[in-house]
Amino acid sequence: MTTVIEPAIARSAKSGVQPLLAIRTIAKSFGKNPVLRDISLQIAEGEFLTILGESGSGKTTLLRIIAGFESADAGEIVMESERLDLLPPYRRRVNTVFQNYALFPHLSVEENVGYGLRVSKLSKDEIAARVSEALAMVKMTPFAKSKPANISGGQQQRIALARALVNRPRLLLLDEPLSALDANLRRQMQVELKSLQREVGISFVFVTHDQEEAMVMSDRIALLRMGELEQVASPREIYSRPATAYTAQFIGHTNLLRGDVRGNVARCNSLSWPVDLPDGPALFSLRPENIRLVTSGVGGADMNLIRFGGKVQNQAFHGATELLQIVCEDGLMVSVRTATREGRQGELHLEFSPADAVPVRESAERG
């Protein structure tokens, strides 16, 4: 599966330090279409935040509002005690890496990188020094005189990055910059981008629809759904403690168990386990990897684990692991992730710990 690169220093939104960027109750509609509703978010210094969402969730619109290419209908954005949303894009200390890179075709690579510096009228020497520094940082020094048309997609992406970073912005926005790359290159770039961010130390706001990508790279993930934030948390947190059904299903695979709670006992079909919840209907997220095959015999089992049985309906090979679709006697279907083994047949015995059945909210229906 994926590897999450641990931050060297744990970052906390509650550290008491003033956030770099504060987004307050931002709303935006296109015509009659509300695209963003009441978004509030804070971005800390030096953090790698990913805005994750499906297409149409509003994530690109939010990014463009921060960059200045769209203006919000309501709310404000404050950066270092200054109203950012009142400034035109060319006066914000924010730079963007565009989805299709938007390199200037009539300028060479080094002219592209130095564009922002030339516009702010720095001295020729200063510009040359910073440009070569930026090119070295993205390992593109030999291509300084080339034209964008003559370099590959991955190389263009690095130049787009250098062009933005050379201006030393307070915040870097990245609009799905890796989506045009093939899978292997993409994985490589994810690692490079992350270490680059560490090296440079500025805040990155990264937009993507790929939840694996988000988990690999981010310090925090802001999950956006239909214009509202579902959950904002670190990758580990959002994976193991999803707040809503949507979050649980969007990030990784999960089983959603619908049941009732009565007298601190949750019942879902023929399964039941102890919970500390008020009475009423409840929804639980149980990750496939948290359902294990019973190894020992029926006796000697850990009494806290909930056991059940079922037949294998489908077996999907994923390399190191496989995903099994199990049908239980009462018709309940669950997915189970285990180590690969050929030809599973017949009745299987499965178990899980109640602690792994995370209660989640229903996701609100949104128009």
Binding site: Y90, A102, G116, A149
Partner: protein, 282 residues
């Protein structure tokens, strides 16, 4: 995929037609330019450079040619000055009305040339609309004579006719500029004016070159506007050619001038092509 027979069938007829009706006539033009006309009005095939020498010897030909080029240059400059901002407006600001405005630009293009030239004639004359209007509102007491039968009238009319020719290629090249380049430029700190000069204008140069070429070449070879509106001081090189094929009856000399015009136009087109390659970034 296509058989030999198919390819021959689609290639041969047009090739033959073009050879007969374009290649041969141009070749004849070439030959005529080296011949001369006898006093009895017959064409003598004496193969000499006399006509060309005549061109350089007699002042009026070169003078008229330079005047024509000067008129064409002015038409080009005005067409670009009028046309570029309009094309820019259309591409970047027109929004929902872009379609309508585009139609408004191409309509004059296809309305009869004669109609448009005639319209200016009725407007600019001493009894014309403009003069009587000015007198009516007491801005002038007497008709302004220079308005008609002058190079001014020719430049004005040709600008009117060829500005749409300039607008279209400029508009096309502006449309081809990806909008995210404009956003990227703003993102990097360039104001809208800086963005225009550093990004938009350089990328629109091929369109500007094409528009300028059309305006220049087409007005250089124009003979109608000068005839209708130019008066004696507005004669252009094509008028001389026309008269040499008419009343002045000297086909060979006319052919020689035509050939020079042709070569001039071809040279210009070659130059434009080279420049466009230099400024095209695809």
């Amino acid at each position: 995929m296509f058989s030999r027979a198919y390819r021959t069938a689609i290639t041969l007829p047009p090739l033959l037609w073009v050879a007969l009706f374009l290649l041969v006539p141009y070749a004849l033009l070439f030959c005529y330019s080296f011949w001369s006309v006898s006093p009895s009005q017959t064409i003598v095939h004496d193969w000499s450079l006399d006509n060309y020498r005549e061109l350089f010897r007699v002042n009026v030909y070169l003078q008229t040619l330079f005047r024509s080029m000067w008129i064409a240059a002015r038409v080009t400059i005005f067409s670009l000055l009028l046309g570029y901002p309009l094309a820019y407006y259309l591409s970047f600001y027109a929004g929902a009305r872009k379609d309508l405005f585009y139609q408004l630009v191409i309509i004059p293009l296809w309305v009869s040339y004669l109609v448009r030239a005639y319209a200016w004639k009725t407007i600019l004359g001493s009894d014309g609309v403009l003069n009587t209007l000015l007198q009516y509102v007491h801005l002038t007491k007497h008709p302004l004579e220079f308005l008609l039968y002058s190079p001014f009238a020719v430049v004005l009319t040709l600008t009117h006719i060829y500005t749409p020719f300039a607008i279209l290629p400029i508009y096309a090249s502006l449309e081809h500029i990806p909008r995210n380049l404009v956003e990227a430029s703003h993102d990097l700190g360039a104001s809208p004016l800086q963005t225009f000069w550093r990004v938009i204008f350089p990328l629109s140069i091929p369109g500007v070159l094409a528009g300028a070429t059309f305006a220049f070449v087409l007005s250089l070879g124009d003979f109608l506007a000068p005839l209708l509106l130019g008066g004696p001081s507005g004669i252009m090189i094509s008028n001389i050619v026309v008269s040499l094929f008419g009343a002045a009856y000297n086909w060979p000399l006319g052919a020689a001038i035509s050939l020079c015009m042709l070569l001039l136009v071809l040279a210009l087109l070659l130059l434009t092509e080279k420049l466009e390659k230099k400024w095209s970034f695809r």
